[in-house]
Amino acid sequence: MSTAAAPSERGLRWFQALTGGQQGLLPGTTRTVRMADSPIGREPARYLAVVPDAQNRFPRARGGEVGLDEAWALARQVRRTIAEDGGASPRAIIAIVDVASQAYGRREELLGIHLAGAAAADAYASARLAGHPVLALLVGKAMSGAFLTHGYQANRILALDSPEVLVHAMSKESAARVTRRSVEALEELGRSITPMAYDVRSFASLGLLHTLIEGINAEAPGTDDVERVRAELAAAIADARAGARDLSSRLTSQAARTTRSASIEVRRRLAQSWDVP
């Protein structure tokens, strides 16, 4: 059984830092999903975060995990944003990502957490296709199904260069149990097999990241840290607006051309043989 580490407060901290201290609580919505508007320069922007709540009605989603209510609330709020803007001037949507995992539980499966996650991913992807610049800002953990639900459909992914920013398909502890390896052995493996690594610098070398923001106090951001991050968000919004609405930028970056060469080669060969010669 997993040991209960103290839930991370980073997501909420950065949410508040970037939105001028707003709580972002929504009437009739779980307290674990926060949403607030705060402009970036002249750009209106909408922020979304998933945060811990010790009183959450679903016990398996009290530590910042993305559970049923969280995923459906994200889907609802993102869809609401698309509807409000009506395609005319689609706002930037910024997912602040600090999610330890999806919620693992019997209730979650019974009630279809896979569909809840799909609905949130669908909403973010639909926003992107509707012309909203969708950004993910990784300030803590971005794990597996939780990241797929909240952030991985963004046109541009940004991350703070911090040892606590981790990206992976399974938490270190779980992966160690599943593969019957020690956490240390897994970390060692990550040093030679880049996609196996957890740290954000390794993730950056996969070519999936738009910007790694260095030299930020990720745990206790000061005014300068917040301003620098906001400037990076502004640049990413402009870049997203100028670019394609799909995820192709993740295959064209310099790092992707090296590390994801197989992803590129597969697509090249499929395209070559798609139509009968």
Partner: protein
């Protein structure tokens, strides 16, 4: 009176499953095993890399219309999604999208038998799955995306989200669909949460019959090649809006659940489908 023997669909290889769904004589594999497009990551970890990385992409026709099928081989590495296998699925869907945008409709079918991300390729598997999700959402605006989950491997992890994004989801009784596999739940939350060895409990939660009875899948079908091929041909007609877009309806269903005392699987069927036509 003896019934005619059924031809099991789920026992076929991925290649044969793709072949039997396509109109006779139209099967053409793309990036097949002779191209030896293997995982660049498995050999470095002492795992033998298969020449097709466990995914078969085939073009052909379904009901006379252009089609593409991406079929996962559940027998290879648990149908896990690595960089190459995931990119084959995403790439096939992206090309179908390109054709649709040019006014050439292509019918996409996914045959998913998968535990989700291949842990040995962790972040590149996860990235490919995000790209599969993106492609399904974009493609679905042009043409229904049809998914079949037929075998005992089931469909889990990030690929369960892919299945849930599809326009039409066809499932057999022995198949399971869920985000977290029972073993992972037991490991993470303890045997008091879920006993992964309790087949009745596991299938009660996430088995094909329960998923159709509670609205998470569209069609419950026998594991029979002829029946599944016929169902796939029918699946492109009169398709309602995808369930992953039905946010208000599903949120309302969930809001009506007592989280402390959730209904048992049987009771959930009655609760959620009351008053609906099924």
């Amino acid at each position: 009176m003896s019934r005619p023997a059924r031809d099991s669909f789920s026992e076929l290889s991925a290649r044969e499953r793709a072949r039997v769904l396509l109109d006779p004589g139209t099967f053409r594999e793309l990036l097949g095993p002779f191209e030896r497009m293997k995982s660049p990551w498995l050999p470095r970890q002492g795992v033998v890399a298969q020449a097709d990385d466990g995914v078969v992409v085939a073009r052909g026709r379904i009901g006379g219309e252009d089609a593409v099928i991406a079929a996962v081989e559940g027998a290879y590495q648990g149908g896990s999604i690595g960089e190459v296998s995931g990119s084959k699925i995403a790439g096939a869907l992206e090309l179908a999208l390109r054709d649709c945008e040019r006014g050439r409709r292509v019918r996409p079918v996914l045959l998913l038998e998968t535990g989700g991300v291949r842990l040995q390729e962790a972040n590149l598997g996860l990235a490919a799955i995000a790209e599969i999700h993106a492609a399904i959402v974009a493609l679905r605006r042009h043409v229904p995306v049809v998914c079949v989950v037929a075998g005992l491997v089931g469909c889990f992890g990030g690929m369960s989200l892919a299945a849930a994004l599809c326009s039409r989801l066809i499932i057999t009784r022995p198949a399971r669909l869920g985000m977290n596999g029972p073993e992972v739940i037991e490991q993470e939350a303890g045997i008091g949460e879920l006993d992964a060895m309790d087949a009745r409990e596991v299938w009660g939660l996430m088995g094909g019959e329960q998923r159709v009875a509670t609205g998470f899948a569209d069609v419950l079908i026998e594991d029979d090649t002829v029946a599944i091929a016929a169902e796939v041909r029918r699946a492109f007609d009169n398709v309602p809006p995808p369930r992953s877009e039905q946010v208000d309806a599903w949120s309302a269903r969930l809001a009506g659940i007592d989280a402390q005392h959730p209904p048992e699987p049987r009771a959930l069927r009655a609760l959620w489908l009351r008053g609906e036509d099924h």
